[in-house]
């Protein structure tokens, strides 16, 4: 079992049989292959981006000119609330989790994530919670209090209907998914790295998602508490937020922003990680300042919590009027400055090749700087008072979110699509894709800054003519539609290249990290032999070695133990990645899917107040967990 073999002689068919997923319904619902789960995450999150995008298009149509009446005020309320909630929660993090799920094991030379069934669970819960959220618009009762849902406007007496019950429960539902997903990422980063991949050889993308995951498990419970309170108050009249009963509406704001400050880092750090992978490959050199960037990443995650502490202890309550994005942006300046300079230095001292992934990565840097500047500007309090709740904030938050989430995501798609499908995305269409998005975005969102300075408030469903906003809004709408066209080009590119794209081969970009050592697309077992790692860029050692005259220990990716007595991979120690044990990984399983179904039943019961249904769901949850954990002989998985 443990004999060292070379990639050529490894029993590929046997491994294929061990790791492959059965065809048919069982395979579809039961697979725990991280690559399948990762792709599902990506596709589902992309679908939410499109849904949120359509909502945005509707809003921009309504705002294209003064006094339009395409949408009623209530419809507009629901649209921006649903748009913000969808984008922030069901798109921005899940899409990054999709990349992490797909790429991580390949990047670290492992055969799977630490908890494959938990991984499947995390996906099914994500999907189910999204379906749950999107039940509400079909009942005409979508969330309507903005994405941060301030009390007391969310309380039943001011907001009857199920709108905010859906909001509260859908988010609690998603939180469960995100939390188990985060635990899976942390377990993977700690235990699953190939032998020799010590922490100082671990790719920055790992640091990004790892930091986001740690921040998630500390921050998300705060959101959960806020939402449980909201639900209990709305449904049962527990007065947490209502001053009449001794509650306090600011309790919501505290709990929400304790979570919210870290959250903005959670949804950008992995994207920064993606860019830190893309740039070295196309600059044809290792990342400059690797250690600093790794430390800055972790520091950013910690600062995310510090911002809130500063709010709480230094000044008491009032300063919460500061816009959250601006407050956060002030402190992010130092670590993100480090990252930006490291990227620029890498490009500067390298021999950059501007293929599409690199274009998006460069666009990412540019938008990062613009978004950063407008953020720092708003962090000045008197200035903030001028612009809070105006379109300036809308402009700023889109620069942050689209600039340093979506552009990073696009870079990731162009970069890793060949790995996932074996085919390259079309380069010409890709360049069009980039320029249309980049120009459309700036055309659409830059004028919002000005509209904001001219006093246009956010969250208005229309505006009268003659305030000097008309031209700016028309421009914004045109730019938005151009931007959307850019995304359409991307979809066309994916649809075409999936079948007809140029064949990629294992390493189309001549990258230096481990995922490029596997075939494209990788087989179910990822690596025929377990690699051993001795540097941050195992595939570039020949070249770098020659450059630096270093002949230190080399990574070995073509020879190693096969481990073919079952679904086996290596467990390594957390810091140095010394091999500790051979792990037996779990088989495909229906339990994660069934658990997500049971959870859905419970949540539908809770939102409609059908307690028998909620009870049924709860029983189902207990039963599926028991079935899941029921001990099997040495077949794998933790008995937890």
């Amino acid at each position: 079992m443990a004999e060292v073999q070379s990639v050529e002689t490894a029993p590929a068919e046997r491994l294929e049989r061990i790791w492959g997923t059965e065809p048919g319904l069982f395979g579809i619902l039961g697979t725990v292959d991280h690559k399948t789960i990762g792709k599902r995450y990506l596709v589902t999150a992309l679908a939410f981006l499109l849904i949120g995008g359509v909502e945005a298009m509707a809003m921009r149509a309504q705002l294209a000119g003064p006094d339009l009446a395409l949408l009623s005020p209530e419809e507009y309320d629901q649209l921006f609330s649903l748009h913000g909630t969808t984008m922030i929660f069901w798109y921005a993090l899940p899409i990054l989790s999709g990349f992490s799920n797909y790429i991580w094991p390949l990047l670290i030379g492992s055969r799977d994530m630490a908890y494959p069934r938990v991984n499947a669970l995390s996906y099914w819960l994500f999907l189910a919670s999204g379906i749950f959220l999107y039940t509400s618009p079909f009942l005409g009762q979508a969330p309507n209090a903005g994405w941060f849902a301030y009390a007391p406007y969310t309380l039943r007496q001011y907001n009857p209907g199920l709108n905010m019950d859906f909001y509260a429960l859908a988010l609690i539902f998603l939180t469960v998914s995100t939390t188990v997903g985060a635990i899976n990422f942390i377990g993977t980063v700690m235990k699953m790295r190939a032998p020799g991949m010590s922490l100082n050889r671990m790719p920055i993308f790992m640091y990004g998602t790892m930091t986001a995951s740690f921040a998630s498990i500390f921050a998300l419970p705060s959101l959960s508490v806020a939402l449980v309170f909201l639900y209990l108050e709305r449904r049962f009249g527990f007065p947490f937020y209502d001053p009449a009963g001794g509650g306090h509406p600011l309790l919501w704001q505290h709990l929400f922003w304790i979570f919210g400050h870290p959250w903005v880092y959670i949804i950008v750090l992995p994207a920064m990680g993606i860019v830190s992978e893309v740039i070295p490959t196309f600059a044809r050199r290792p990342l400059v300042g690797y250690t600093l960037v790794a430390m800055a990443t972790v520091a950013t995650g910690i600062i995310g919590f510090g911002v809130w502490v500063h709010h709480m202890f230094a000044t008491g309550l009032p300063p919460l009027s500061l816009s959250f994005f601006s407050g956060a942006s002030l402190l992010i300046v130092i670590p993100s400055g480090i990252a930006v300079f490291a990227w620029i230095a890498t490009i500067w001292t390298g021999r950059p090749v501007f293929r599409t992934p690199m274009l998006f990565a460069t666009g990412f840097i540019v938008l990062f700087v613009i978004g950063g500047v407008s953020g720092v500007v708003t962090a000045a309090v008197p200035y903030d008072w001028q612009v809070t709740d105006t379109y300036f904030v809308v402009a700023h938050l889109h620069y942050v979110l689209i600039g340093i989430n979506l552009f990073g995501v696009m870079a990731g798609f162009y970069y890793w699509f060949p790995k996932m499908t074996g085919r390259l995305l079309d380069e010409r269409l890709g360049k069009w894709n980039f320029w249309v998005m980049f120009v459309g975005f700036n055309l659409g969102f830059f004028p919002m800054h000005i509209a904001g300075l001219l006093g246009m408030p956010r969250r208005v469903y229309t505006y009268p003519a003659g305030l000097g906003w008309d031209g700016l809004n028309l421009l914004t709408t045109i730019g938005s539609y151009l931007f959307a066209l850019g995304i359409l080009l991307f979809l066309i590119n994916v649809a075409r290249s999936r079948r007809h794209g140029e064949s990629a081969g294992p390493n189309p970009w001549d990258g230096g990290t481990l995922e490029w050592a596997t075939p494209s697309p990788p087989p179910p077992y990822n690596f025929a032999v377990i690699p051993t790692v001795r540097s941050g860029y195992p595939l570039w050692e020949d070249r770098l070695g020659r450059l630096r005259g270093a002949a230190a220990a080399r990574s070995v990716v073509t020879r190693g133990p096969v481990l073919d007595q079952g679904r086996e991979t290596v467990d390594t120690s957390a810091l140095d990645a010394d091999p500790v044990a051979v792990l037996r990984m779990p088989q495909d399983s229906l339990w994660p899917f069934l658990l997500a179904v049971a959870t859905s039943v419970a949540f539908y019961g809770a939102v409609f107040g059908a307690w028998w249904l909620a009870g049924l769901g709860a029983l189902g949850i207990v039963a599926t967990i028991l079935g899941w954990l029921w001990p099997r002989s040495l077949e794998g998985g933790a008995v937890a």
Binding site: A2, F236, T532, A553, R584, L634, A638, A640
Partner: protein, 199 residues
């Protein structure tokens, strides 16, 4: 080439030992759950600090039931520790008896907690204090019930002979969770029952 690969043949097999991925899964679950209780208690102290009426509205809660109940819960943890130490030496009898005693003490705790709830002159709708009292102890009670289910499952598996001297991660994880539930109770007890006496 100065390094080859590593000697996989010498490694142990499986996923059921301390510091294994399965063990860490429980550790991080506990960390995130502990944060949840931290935010619950934060909310309690925040609303206390903002309260215009006396807090708690009717003076500090009685310790008559809560104090002995706390002792019960600690004893149940001791029993579970005893059981886990047992299986580490391969002692199946100790495992089963310890788990059973721990379970029964935990069950007693939850029953007494029920009496404590029904004895209160206020309800969760009366005021913010009541809402917090019932929500926080309710959350804790729910965790006790989950812990009891774990102890029960592990008990059944112990009778099936699942656990051995080397492989008993299920016991270790259930025990960790149970101790966590107990430690959280000490925080809840200190915050809700003791702190108003010193305020």
């Amino acid at each position: 080439m100065s390094t080859t690969t590593f000697p996989a043949a010498t490694l142990s097999l499986g996923n059921r030992f301390d510091r294994s991925p399965g063990w860490w899964a429980m550790v991080w679950t506990i960390v995130t759950e502990a944060s949840l209780f931290a935010y619950l208690l934060f909310s309690y102290f925040y609303l206390a600090s903002q309260a215009r009426a006396p807090w708690p509205p009717r003076g500090p809660l009685s310790l008559e039931l809560a104090l002995p109940n706390t002792v019960l819960l600690i004893l149940s943890s001791v029993a579970v520790i005893w059981a886990e130490r047992g299986i580490r030496r391969g002692d199946q009898r100790r495992l089963r008896i310890g788990l059973l005693v721990g379970f029964l003490l935990g069950l007693a705790f939850i029953v007494i907690q029920g009496i404590e709830w029904s004895d209160q002159p206020f309800g969760p709708r009366s005021n913010a204090y009541g809402a917090l009292f019932f929500t926080i102890t309710g959350f804790h009670g729910a965790h006790v019930i989950v812990g009891l289910l774990m102890l029960l499952a592990v008990q059944v598996w112990a009778w099936m002979g699942t656990f051995t001297e080397e492989r008993h991660l299920g016991v270790t994880n259930a025990a960790m969770y149970w101790h966590f539930v107990d430690v959280v109770w000490l925080f809840v007890f200190t915050s809700l029952y003791l702190s108003p006496r010193f305020a």
